[in-house]
Chain length 561, copies 2
């Protein structure tokens, strides 16, 4: 409300914007209006009229009109609000979640809900137009061992038995393919009872796609076209397709990550060969022990101060490296220790390898190769941010392909599937399934946007004998695999067509498109970092009778203090 020279202005708001109401300051109506508390719900009747030319606001939908009020009715009163409903107020996460129904009145959350709505329509219409059938898979399913943790749901009718909530509709969408559905999609709610990390939610959504009779390129093309349309629909922005495809090993070698950020260069470069017998003892001993020297070249960063270079060193240590040797390229060659030790031809070789010129900064780490590559990858990303090396409006996607099918288990005692056990091995690696499983490449592909993994998919095993060989490789014998995936194995034996698909993290994709830094900002009613909902108070205790009907009792937890 504003009182300006004889006129009282009242701003009324709905989802679509604000409209200005005007009346004479001295009128009875003005007296009524002055009684209204902020956020009162009103119905105003009056004459719609153009605003005075000097007061029009063309950036507002209703900026060129105002309503000369004749009557005002209060439809609902408002108590003083516990938090502000303009964007400049950030009440903090706890309050925002508790009063999410008020927080949603702020323009930014509202804008994110509208964005999400548009994304849902864009994705569904794209897939439906392409002939994929939208099919809803069940939420109450059997527990499957896909790595992370299942939420379970006790059955009242079958006491002692539990459903699980799906971490993914994986085996149901595969069942659809086996059921003769040509192509399927769903925006599926999934659930994971994880120890909460920042930016995880107990429930999340994925764009789930599966198709029969496809190769990798069919999936790539479909997803690229879908994402391209989505970004036009949401941000009216064109992205480049097809996306770059990077072999998993190349991504690890050049970016130190299986989710490479292609918005900037500064690639990891292996210079072990140049350091052979270099006389630089710290590195020589590493190389003799079978290790590597890998580095980055900071373009134009020779000018960093001694303090800044010390901070680089600290960063390297906090990321798990033993150290980071930084060496500025000057007009007299490398400065620092390398300048002293290296003959000029070796300096030239090193600079050539890095494409380094005067003014650049070489940063080198030595160690067991697989222990230094990922820390260097993280350092690359951190410096990319710090040094402002990319246009943060850019959206650069890539596919990472040919990842290994298996990796060692955390305790080193066996091997496990990198993605999930339904992923097909690359054909030419089939014979290594039993002899050398860790060398088997998979037909999996990850979709990465700006260094963030958005999606993972694969061509699946459609032949029972190969699926059984994969189960065997990860230590599941026939009894165990039958117990866990019995019906899928059996299903593969009744004429399962070749098929493959992908699951795209919808919340994360939206977060990036909305320019937000947390998926909570693009979910209507998110849970907190500890999986609570301060708004409704869930989770909460249930009464003893309900527990008894489920055939359950709480364990004594007092001992835990």
């Amino acid at each position: 409300m504003r009182d300006l020279g004889g006129l009282l202005f009242l701003s009324v708001r709905d989802q679509f914007g604000k409209t200005q109401i005007v009346t004479d300051t001295t009128s009875a109506l003005a007296a009524e209006m002055k009684q209204l508390r902020l956020e009162t719900v009103v119905r105003v009747s009056g004459i719609v009229q153009p605003r005075p030319a000097e007061m029009t606001n063309k950036s507002m939908l209703t900026g060129e009109i105002e309503v000369r009020a004749e009557k005002i009715e209060v439809l609902n009163r408002a108590e003083p609000l516990p938090l502000g409903v303009e964007d400049q107020y950030d009440a903090g996460e706890e309050l925002r979640l508790k009063y999410r129904y008020l927080d949603l009145r702020r323009p930014r959350p509202l804008r994110n809900m509208i964005l999400r709505h548009k994304a849902l329509q864009s994705i569904r219409s794209f897939n439906a137009d392409k002939g994929l059938l939208e099919i809803e898979t069940p939420v109450l399913i059997k527990s499957t061992p896909e790595g992370a943790r299942d939420y379970v749901v006790p059955s009242r009718i079958h006491q002692g038995s539990f459903y699980a909530l799906p971490q993914s509709p994986q085996i149901y969408k595969q069942s659809l393919m086996i059921g003769g559905i040509d192509r399927y999609f769903q925006i599926a709610r999934c659930f994971r009872d994880e120890d909460m990390r920042s930016d995880r939610q107990p429930e999340f959504s994925q764009i789930d796609i599966e198709m029969t009779f496809v190769q990798e390129e069919d999936i790539y093309e479909h997803v690229e076209e879908m994402v391209k349309k989505l970004i036009v629909d949401l941000r009216n922005m064109e992205i480049t397709t097809p996306f770059t495809q990077i072999d998993f090993q190349d991504a690890m070698n050049s970016y130190g990550s299986d989710a490479p950020d292609l918005r900037f260069n500064m690639l990891l470069t292996d210079v072990t060969e140049i350091f052979q017998n270099s006389g630089f003892k710290a590195f020589d001993s590493v190389i003799e022990a079978g290790g590597s020297v890998v580095g980055l070249c900071g373009v134009g960063k020779a000018s960093l101060s001694r303090k800044q270079r010390a901070e680089l060193e600290d960063l390297a240590r906090s990321e798990g490296l033993a150290g980071l040797l930084s060496s500025p390229v000057t007009d007299e060659g490398l400065s620092g220790i390398l300048g002293k030790i290296f003959m000029s031809d070796r300096q030239t070789k090193l600079c050539t390898k890095f494409n380094a010129v005067e003014g650049d900064l070489l940063m080198l780490a030595a160690g067991e190769r697989e222990k230094i590559v990922e820390p260097l990858g993280r350092i690359r990303k951190i410096l990319g941010d710090q040094w402002d090396m990319y246009d943060n409006k850019k959206l650069i996607f890539c596919w990472v392909t040919n990842a290994p099918l298996f990796e060692k288990t955390a305790d080193g005692s066996g091997i496990t599937a990198v993605h999930h056990p339904f992923t097909a091995p690359v054909d030419e690696d089939l014979e290594k399934l039993s002899s050398n499983p860790l060398q088997v490449r998979s037909r999996a592909y990850d979709l990465v946007l700006n260094g963030i993994e958005l999606a993972t998919g694969s061509i699946r095993n459609h032949q029972r004998r190969i699926q059984e060989a994969v189960f065997k490789a990860i230590g599941m014998d026939n009894v165990e695999s039958k117990k866990r995936f019995g019906f899928l194995l059996e299903a593969l034996s009744y004429g399962a067509p070749p098929h493959g698909g992908i699951a795209i993290g919808f919340d994360r994709l939206l977060m990036l498109l909305a320019g937000e830094s947390s998926i909570r900002e693009v979910i209507a009613f998110p849970k907190s970092n500890t999986a609570n909902s301060p708004m409704d108070g869930s989770p909460s205790p249930i009464d003893g009778q309900q527990l008894a009907e489920l055939g359950l009792s709480l364990k004594d937890t007092k001992k835990k203090g």
Copy 2:
């Protein structure tokens, strides 16, 4: 496969239909083809050519062509199938659910999945075009007491606490309205842990709609337009709008049901007045005790045999009536007991009341009014079917309005909300909220199709003081209501706009549009009648460690034997 005079024909199938492959019976290829088991997955290369004129099949998409095979590759073998994949095979529910991935290959389940897909797209595009925002509400929520039973989900992080799965997104969609969203829709998965009755599923879908600043008519119009479009999209059929609106009391009086089937007449008719002091002792004593005489008129059913009329009597008893007096209308007036007792003017009055003419059959029941109306309503429906009184291709919708807000609890000790406690009372009944709550009419409306309740909705309480009065009427004091719905009550005090909405049973609507008699037929992976999934074996026991991590233990159930 068919072998016809020197040519071997092989039929190959995918989601879109069948195509005929042809080769010479004596070729090597024919020998290969003869080895193939039914449902083997093949890739055939060859020449596409027109079929001989006498063999074209214009009803098939590919009925005018065939493929002269040059090469055939087996992509996957098939073991002998445990059930047939043509519509004429019905393997029975247990087998069909166990091998749902094979059952889906049959044309009818496939057709239902395609129908469901189309319905999803039709409904979403309609609502999005109308400016409603699609917003996904959480699946892990706080337990709410909405009558039936919640599924609960134990929290691992917060041992002893539970989430509930939503029976409806009711309070979340109301929160969205309070959050300033103008209009919302969602096709929401809901859950109910009921003792299974036929045609219930533990998880089901509803078309969930909520709008601000609306009256009943706004919702009616929106839903009518949506359903009209849906039926055009799915069945290319026009239905009549607006739908008939029937007052709840009229529906009970004339149809003996709150879900009246308008496809045929034969209305319940109260003839108590005509039976005053009739001399027919059985009815006189009922009327003296305050009861009523209510009947139906079976047009042209005077010709029923004595045996058939005895069966009517049996039906009446099995539906809970003390008896059913049936009296044919002949050219000499009523035959049977009424003809003997009633003077001709009383007979005329009775026939006039029923619009009965010669050849019709009057069927009369006497008793306490509220105990005979619903049995008569059920008898009306059963006879409507038996006597083939309607065109079963017709789709007749109606709205039932002004239902009571409250009803007595099952044990008679108190009152409870008929729909849910967020339903607003009719304005002019507000003052009866405390004085005479059972007389308060609600602003609820049910949508009924062919006598089946499809949807229920209402204008909600948007003012805290009225919501509190409703809670109080159903025996929830402030402490209790705050504990259960605390955040909604509080939310109503910060400027909640008037709002209302509806929830439409999506599975049931689809079932009726697909011409199926069970919702299981329109769900991709339904549960059985006992809430089991024979396909994946859920629900199933989980291991002790997982239970322990949830802070739970199983009660000793041995005593139950």
